[in-house]
């Protein structure tokens, strides 16, 4: 499936910003199962300096500096991305989760998608005993890992209420888990915390979900804005498998990857240091439409 992705990100400030230094993570790149035909960022005001590069996980980074006073920063992404339909993995064919754990611990590869990077607590994802106990229920001894993971997203969707505004971008997994409320970021963080807590490698993916046609009744959450889901490493042969805990679905053709990291902080779309303003607000609008 080929998609046209449009995202407009607007940072508004309460008073003019004299100088801004940002890093943007807003451009999709080629990944296994995804090819980027074209992707361009338009930035207003025009940055004084702009640099392109990549981070360790292969994400595209754009560093900008703006030296003219401004009250809004607008970044527009226009991209065309082809997403392959993924051959379905049979849950029962994957190894038992304990074997995957030892395999991850013993990995000798330290490349960008080595499971070793995604085994440990990270800036926003601590290992919480309660989330860990919750997760363990989906992983009785000897269960095939993918089978357990499917069970886990089903339970997460049932047990946690999708609610915009109940949490913020800085809410930690133990907090949202205690609330049993959150948005896609919280679902993903909780799931990652639980998986890592029992020793399994799990990554955070930011991206987009195909926009629902108006009459669509499936009611998937996350299609009007940026979305987030989880990649679980299921052993060297099965590799990384995408799971969307917010919607309790597997990642197939409807998800477009933007960036991969250990948690939200690795993929935050805009980071930076500004001089001059207190009070700022960010707005995002997204559309992901199939090209016919």
């Amino acid at each position: 499936m080929i998609y046209d992705v449009r995202q407009t990100t607007t940072c508004g400030y309460a008073s003019p910003v004299a100088h801004a230094h940002h890093v943007l993570r807003l451009t999709p790149v080629h990944r296994d199962g995804q090819r980027v035909h074209v992707a361009a960022l338009q930035i207003l005001p025009e940055p004084t300096r702009r640099r392109e590069g990549a981070d360790f996980f292969g994400n595209r980074l754009t560093w900008i500096e703006i030296e003219e006073p401004h009250e809004t920063l607008t970044v527009r992404l226009a991209a065309r991305v082809a997403v392959d339909s993924i051959a379905e993995t049979q849950p029962q064919s994957t190894p038992c989760w304990e074997d995957v754990r030892e395999e991850g611990f013993a990995a000798s590869d330290i490349g960008l998608l080595s499971p070793a990077h995604f085994l440990f607590p990270s800036r926003m994802v601590s290992l919480d005993p309660e989330i860990c106990d919750y997760t363990r229920e989906s992983f009785p001894p000897g269960r095939p890992i993918f089978d357990g993971a499917i069970d886990l997203i089903t339970r997460l969707k049932a047990d946690i209420v999708y609610e915009i505004g109940a949490t913020t971008v800085t809410t930690t997994p133990p907090m949202s888990f205690a609330l049993r409320r959150g948005v896609c970021q919280d679902f993903a963080h909780i799931m990652i915390s639980g998986l890592r807590g029992i020793g399994l490698p799990a990554a955070y993916v930011s991206g987009y979900l195909r926009s629902a046609p108006r009459a669509d009744a499936t009611g998937l959450h996350g299609s009007e804005a940026m979305h987030a889901w989880v990649l679980l490493w299921c052993g060297a042969s099965a590799g990384w498998i995408g799971l969307d805990p917010t919607n309790a679905i597997l990642v197939k053709e409807e998800h477009v990857m933007l960036a991969i990291g250990r948690d939200y902080t690795d993929v935050a779309p805009v980071d930076g240091v500004i001089v001059g303003s207190r009070g700022q607000r960010m707005e995002v609008s997204v559309s992901v439409t199939p090209v016919t």
Partner: protein
């Protein structure tokens, strides 16, 4: 000893025996001073004989002198757990550790080899990654380490080395061998404290220090300093020491080392990254820096690519490193090899990397990420110490730091075993080490205490040098496995003995101090800004004190007579927010109390002094210990309780004491501030504030109509009575008084005098170029001219208001020219689904 028949030696021997009588090594523990048979080891004998010969009283006197030296030098460290962030005096244990020359040679060889190994491991982990690829180092052990900084993978460190300064903690086991306990590669601390310990001790017992052949440590620092300067590519670039700031536990050391090595002490806000390099924001504009000695943890160094929540770092620093624009010592990412888990692999890596076994062992360590090791060690938990693999404590761990297996309760053990089975990658176990002991002087005698020794290595050219000395940390009580300053231990000097000659110590006044002083002359904008505000706050505090004193003095005159003046003073105090609103009808005692005690009011003494002190604390390295102490004394005074009830005399005492300290502070600033430009900013703050205060006083007490007794109060507040009486010998009259406090250029309290000083300081600041006046100078000049040409009789409220407004504009203009305010973007992220 008994082989020598010499009588004097026998006597010495006898007095030595008396001196060490009662010293008993702890059972089963190697003692540095005494062998198991109870004999003093040979290399300790000369030192102990000389020390013992002084006698207990003299020893106490000498050791007290060392403590006094440390106190006077302002040596302190900060205790994190302490809610008040208290600074602790430096706990020096006065008996040094003595290390004999052959043993030292072995240590040097072992540690030099270890430094080379760590450098090679770092180069591989950030480079080709063959050690992980070949299975010699598990990928999880690198990837799980919070100090593995992914932005530097594939980036060779500018300058060619990850490590240039390395510290290592060692301890001696009961078998008499030295073992490496841990490596410090991130931002090793302690070297500055080691210098201070050496200075204090060599002054307290100079005769013994001279007679005992002790290796000097200064040449090591000279070599390191030369190396730093050699790394500079451009002559005008300044070398900086990057500190996380005064709240850090070892901030004193940052400031001290910066001075000692001739580096500029900066924090993140002082630096800015441009395309062509890294620059220091100074009052004279941007100045290039190419070499940065960092004491800030790597994760905090760049909010753009590492910890976005960091307020300590420099945006873009990582990019500057990748571009090869800045050499950072140690490299960002060098903390990787500090991890305990590394200790499990270094012994096996040495033959693969260096082609030789480790000359000096490290404490036996097993990483529990491997299934077979994990299984075995869960069985052996009682024999070992369990600890976090990477950091001091990890979320999800049932304890922080480390725990002896035997000391775990049943429930704790069960939880631990489950955690290890889930996530063995987070854990190591280590052999329980028993440290050796050395003597400390307690209650007038020597007693044994366990200790660890921190040694320092610097890379000079292609070779490592070891500082011949060290930093000893001593446990407060008998058997401690871990010793840390944070846990209330003492420190001691380490003397490396030598049979050869040592450097001449008599020619230099301070044998360990180096004469190099390159740091003078460069003033970071942030420091200037803080100095300016210290000046303003202190001056305003003085004004509040004087008003309170004037008010209390009026009580004696009888309430009716003084009522108009008192209500004028009260109005002023209220306008400055030194007393609560609408309290003018309250008693004088109530108002005075509020101004002296209410820390919630922005014009009160506690608030102003607290603000001055916190502004000063950020730039403490620019104050002499005496000036800092005066400011601390003022803060202590301002926060002490006053007895309840009508207590004019107690309040008068406090006011007088406060004014005395303020006067002392002014004198100390004038005499002791090393930075000329820095002193000028402090002065500018004071002068502007004093001019403002004086204008307010004149408007309040002399204009438009003379309040009864107002002129006398004005003279008192402006500290000008004596001058006035000498000149006029009569009661106060409006025109002469206004002339004296506003216009008289010879009265150091007059407004014109303040402008003279302000203009002189502005003219001397770096930004005033050539003959033209800077915008800041123009503001000052226009109003000063107006004042100088004015007649006392023609001065009215309107003119004074103009002057006050110009002064505030001047303050803002100075702020705009020298102050930079950076903020991190904290977006309210609205549209995340």
């Amino acid at each position: 000893m008994s082989a020598q028949p010499d009588n004097a030696v026998d006597q010495t021997d006898a007095s030595l025996q008396r001196f060490v009588a009662g010293y008993r090594p702890l059972p089963g523990i190697f003692d540095e001073m005494m062998d198991p048979a109870g004999r003093v080891r040979a290399h300790w004998q000369p030192f102990l004989s000389m020390l013992g010969a002084l006698g207990g009283e003299e020893i106490n006197r000498r050791f007290a002198a060392a403590d006094r030296y440390l106190r006077d030098s302002g040596v302190f460290y900060r205790v994190y757990e302490d809610a008040a962030g208290l600074e602790r005096p430096w706990p020096l244990s006065h008996i040094p550790l003595l290390i004999e020359p052959t043993e030292w040679r072995d240590l040097v060889a072992g540690l030099t080899q270890r430094a080379e190994l760590l450098e090679a491991v770092l180069a591989d982990c950030y480079g080709p990654a063959t050690l992980t690829g070949e299975g010699r180092l598990p990928a999880a052990l690198v990837a799980g380490n919070p100090e593995f900084l992914r932005p530097f993978v594939g980036v060779a460190p500018p300058g060619g080395a990850h490590l240039r300064f390395y510290a290592v903690d060692i301890g001696r086991g009961s078998d008499g061998r030295w073992w490496v306990l841990s490596d410090r590669t991130q931002a090793p601390s302690g070297a500055g404290y080691a210098i201070e310990n050496r200075l204090a001790l060599s002054r307290a017992i100079p005769d013994i220090y001279r007679t005992t052949g002790v290796e000097r440590v200064a040449p090591f620092f000279q070599a390191f300093q030369s190396e730093l300067f050699a790394l500079n590519r451009q002559d005008d670039a300044r070398i900086c020491l990057l500190t996380p700031g005064p709240m850090n536990e070892t901030y004193f050391e940052h400031a001290y080392l910066a001075r000692y090595l001739g580096l500029l002490l900066v924090d993140g806000e002082d630096l800015i990254v441009r395309d062509d390099g890294v620059f220091i924001r100074t009052v004279a504009g941007l100045r290039r820096t190419e070499v940065l000695v960092r004491r800030i943890d790597a994760d905090f160094s760049d909010p753009l690519e590492l910890n976005a929540a960091s307020r300590l770092g420099v945006a873009g620093l990582i990019q500057a490193v990748r571009d090869g624009k800045i050499i950072i010592i140690n490299s960002l990412g060098a903390g990787l090899v500090e991890a305990r888990a590394m200790l499990a692999f270094l012994p096996a890596l040495a033959p693969a990397v260096l082609g030789a076994d480790l000359k000096m062992p490290n404490v036996a360590t097993w990483w529990l990420g491997r299934a077979d090791v994990r299984k075995e060690m869960i069985e052996r938990l009682d024999e070992v110490v369990v600890a976090a693999a990477f950091t001091e404590s990890m979320a999800g761990m049932p304890f922080s730091g480390e725990a002896l297996g035997t000391k775990l309760g049943d429930a704790q053990r069960q939880e631990l075993v489950r955690s290890i089975r889930d996530r063995g990658v987070d854990y190591v176990v280590q052999e329980a080490v028993t440290l050796s002991s050395m003597p400390v002087w307690r209650d007038g005698r020597l007693q044994p205490r366990p200790f660890t020794l921190r040694l320092f290595l610097a890379k000079i050219g292609e070779r490592w040098q070891v500082m011949p000395g060290g930093f000893v940390r001593i446990a407060e009580h008998g058997d401690a496995h871990a010793v840390s300053l944070q846990r209330g231990a003492a420190t001691a000097d380490a003397w490396v003995l030598t049979h050869g000659p040592v450097g001449d110590t008599t020619l230099l006044p301070h044998p360990e101090r180096m004469p190099v002083q390159r740091a003078a002359g460069l003033l970071p904008s942030r420091a200037a800004d803080n100095l300016f505000w210290v000046g303003r706050y202190v001056e305003r505090a003085e004004a509040t004190l004087r008003l309170v004193r004037a008010m209390i003095n009026r009580i004696a005159e009888g309430y009716d007579a003084a009522a108009p003046v008192i209500s004028s003073i009260a109005a002023l105090l209220e306008a400055w927010n030194a007393i609560p609103a609408d309290s003018q009808k309250a008693s004088v005692v109530f108002m005075a109390r509020a101004a002296l005690m209410r820390s919630d009011l922005q014009g009160s003494l506690p608030y102003l002094v607290g603000s001055a002190r916190s502004a000063a604390s950020v730039i403490r390295d620019r104050f002499s210990p005496d000036a800092w102490r005066a400011l601390s004394d003022l803060a202590t005074l301002a926060s002490a309780q006053l007895s309840i009830g009508p207590s004019e005399s107690a309040m008068t005492d406090r006011v007088e004491a406060g004014l005395r300290i303020v006067a002392a502070l002014s004198g100390l600033a004038q005499e002791n501030m090393s930075q000329r430009a820095g002193w000028r900013f402090l002065e500018l703050g004071r002068r502007i504030e004093r001019a403002l205060v004086t204008c307010r006083l004149v408007r309040c007490f002399a204009l438009p109509i003379n309040v009864d007794g107002g002129l006398d109060v004005l003279l008192e507040l402006a500290d000008s009575q004596i001058t006035y009486r000498q000149r006029y010998l009569m009661i106060a009259a409006p025109v002469p008084v206004i002339d004296l406090v506003m216009l008289d250029p010879n009265n150091p309290r007059s407004v014109v005098f303040q402008f003279d000083r302000i203009e002189a300081h502005l003219a001397a600041l770096p930004k005033s170029s050539g003959g033209r006046l800077s915008p800041v100078q123009q503001i000052a000049a226009s109003i000063a001219t107006r004042l100088r040409t004015a007649e006392a009789a023609s001065i009215d409220s309107e003119l004074i208001m103009d002057i006050e407004q110009a002064l505030m504009k001047l303050s803002d203009a100075i702020g705009a020219a020298y102050l930079i305010n950076t903020e991190r973007s904290d977006f309210e992220w609205e549209a995340l689904a």
